[in-house]
Amino acid sequence: MTYPDNQIAPENDLIKGCIDGDPQMQRLLYERFASKMYGVCVRYAENTEDANDVMQEGFIKVYRNISKFRGEGSFEGWIRRIFIHTAIEHYRKKIKLFHVTEISENTIEDDRLNALDSLAAKDILKIVNELSPGYKAVFNMHVIEGYSHKEIAEILGITEGTSKSQLARAKAVLKKIIEVRSIKIN
């Protein structure tokens, strides 16, 4: 099956082609999702080199396991979960999850974080990347991806309480950064 450069291959054809090991379809799949998934890698990675490793490892996992995709939910969501899990596995050894005094999540007002809305995505990313890997992982998973603390606890191998504490600490750190940089609240 061949597709001209100006024609978009349907998702089902991409999946089938990749299952059959068609190199053209593998390339097309990569081109379609590479930028989005690299964005995920950059959010979780500590530096560019690590982001590249996660990117490579994640796509290889996608190609190897694509036959297991059963069409439940979006294909992009399925790929995204693979990348998040790959990033977490990659950093599992590096992430030091210090238990902090449990602070209620609500004590950190999200209004302070809303100051980030005025910034461009790239600038927000720079600020978030200042968090330690542990805080960043929990922040990304809960605030950006929408995972529950229970899910985070299972994926990271921690308790729900620890996940909440990590998130509270991450938000506190971000608040300080926003204050230091004098970012105005909308």
Binding site: G21, P23, Q26, R27, Y30, A34, S35, K36, Y38, G39, C41, V42, R43, N52, M55, Q56, F59, I60, Y63, R64, L113, N114, L116, D117, L119, A120, A121, K122, I124, L125, V128, N140, V143, I144, E145
Partner: protein
């Protein structure tokens, strides 16, 4: 306007071109290994299937041979032999009966019946060769044949001969001589047995 969560969630940035080369290289290697493994698996599969077929055919033929040979040859032979023996015995008894009846009814033809034997000689004219219940040839005189028939309840009783036969039976029962089908005494015994059976 998107909030910071949406901005981060939808954040896209192009990866370095070299990443695809690494991925493609790794996938191609896997495909080659996969293809080789697939070919090897196919070869092994067909080899095993062929070997299994040969074994099944061989075992099947052995099994059929074991079951069919005795069933259709040995067993059939036995059955046929038994049938032939039974038929021969039946024929023999019927023939004897016919001969004896014909002797009794037509005493004048005794000689003619006897003369039907191929090795005709003087002795054979005075004796009848009949088959006993076991199919063994026995020579008896026509008179004795009449006695035997007389002992049978199917014919009109002849009290004198019956009395005489009973006397012989008593002699045989009290004697230590074992009766055989080759002598007259045996025939008397057989006739007596037949009589007893008919009474029962």
């Amino acid at each position: 306007m998107q909030n910071f969560k949406e901005k981060l969630f939808n954040y896209e940035t192009p990866p370095p071109e070299e990443i695809w080369h690494h991925i493609a290289g790794e996938i191609n290697n896997e495909n080659v290994v996969k293809m080789r493994g697939h070919k090897k698996n196919k070869f092994v599969f067909y080899t095993v299937a062929a070997a299994a077929s040969v074994v099944i055919i061989f075992l099947g033929s052995v099994f059929l041979k074991k079951n069919s040979t005795p069933k259709y040859s040995y067993q059939n032979k036995l059955d046929q032999q038994n049938l032939l023996l039974a038929q021969e015995t039946k024929d023999s008894v019927q023939l004897n009966q016919l001969i004896l009846e014909s002797i009794i009814n037509n005493p004048k033809e005794k000689k003619e019946i006897v003369s039907q034997e191929p090795d005709d000689n003087i002795k054979s004219k005075t004796y009848l060769t009949v088959a006993d219940p076991e199919g063994q040839p026995v020579k008896i005189s026509p008179k004795v044949a009449t006695l035997i028939i007389s002992a049978d309840n199917g014919y009109p009783p002849k009290p004198i001969w019956c009395k005489e036969i009973r006397r012989w039976q008593n002699i045989m029962l009290n004697s230590t001589i074992s009766p055989t089908s080759a002598n007259f005494a045996d025939l008397v015994q057989l006739a007596a047995n037949k009589q007893i059976m008919n009474k029962d």
